[in-house]
Assembly symmetry: C2
Homo-oligomer: 210 residues x 2
């Protein structure tokens, strides 16, 4: 994993992105076994020979993507201020970083989602190994240092968190469908997201904390 993929990394960055996105899309849509390298090169606009020049096999390509996306996700966690005590401010921050990544790699999150459910024997062991690490880190850090005292006490906290997460997920999905290939929507999406955060604040915070 150190010197390997050197041929790929020395490509011009626009081409790299095209290949990564095409591959992420295909694997996310069809899973490992049904994903077609033919379709990937077609979408990426390169030749088959090139793809297998950069990566020696379909499996290697998949594992490269897995590693790459995991590193991107780690980057999310690194950029977030884990000292911010306000739940919604923090969630907004997290959303903002995710959105930035989504603009560059629209299928990255879908890719890891399907990777988690992948059952092709050729890649499953690697997924499991990496998956455990991610989950361990994610859950621990996730809600650390949050000031829960701001929340209403008559509502079950676990369910409340789920409602908030589902709302953010639903919103993200809606925005994704809306955009398609439109570039640079930018700030208005975040503004709309803030509307939702404002509603959730009014729902779940104590009156005097809003």
């Amino acid at each position: 994993m150190i010197i390997i993929y050197q041929k790929f990394f020395s490509l011009e960055s626009e081409k790299k992105a095209r290949i990564i996105n095409a591959a992420l899309k295909e694997f996310a849509r069809n899973g490992y076994s049904k994903a077609s390298t033919n379709d990937i090169v077609k979408e990426a606009g390169i030749s088959k020979g090139s793809l297998f020049n950069y990566f020696n096999s379909k499996r290697e390509l998949y594992l490269f993507l897995l590693d790459y996306v995991v590193k991107i996700i780690e980057q999310i966690y690194a950029e977030v201020d884990w000292m911010e005590p306000d739940f919604f401010t923090r969630m907004r921050q997290l959303g903002e970083v995710k959105y930035k990544i989504y603009k560059k790699y629209p299928h990255a999150f879908n890719f890891i989602k399907t990777a988690a459910r992948e059952d092709a024997a050729e890649v499953k062991p690697e997924i499991n190994r990496i998956g455990k690490a991610i989950i361990a880190e994610g859950l621990e850090r996730g809600y650390q240092n949050i000031d829960w005292s701001k929340f209403r006490e008559d509502i079950d906290r676990e369910r409340m968190i789920k409602i908030i997460n589902w709302t953010m997920l639903g919103f993200a999905e809606e925005e994704r469908d809306k955009v398609k290939s439109f570039e640079e929507v930018g700030t208005e999406v975040l503004k709309e997201a803030d509307e939702y955060f404002s509603i959730l604040r009014r729902c779940f915070y104590k009156k005097e904390e809003q």
Copy 2:
């Protein structure tokens, strides 16, 4: 569509269900073109010859399912009391009927969801034709006769409805993942759903209406 599929309909109902579920699952997972009739017959536990005896082609099978599922969804709408003015009571009712259908055809909703995004030229025209009708009916009836006066007035209604829908969707998905092949979970799921409805009520209704 009148006398056709007669061979299929005269099968014993358990076998019919097995075939329908296997096919819905395969099409939902892989889309029309990548779905494999081989995998369908394997999952359904019948022979290839039989499948093509009941349905003359893959396309015919797909269109049959489309029609079948659409009719099931129409049945949902027929069973709901559209006079019930309380938003959450109505949503709960709707959820209950959907849950009943989900128990019989776990992949039906996924199937129409992917069908809506299908782009295989062989079936797209039919999907579009049926799709429009569904959407027209669904949106019109959806929130008729609801007593909106019970709701807080400081929260945007459209966004609120979306939050509620995303919550129900997220809950359903979670429950689905949890169950897998476990049979007859039954009432406890609906009880847990009621917890969420209770929270949403407390969030979005005026104090005195709860």
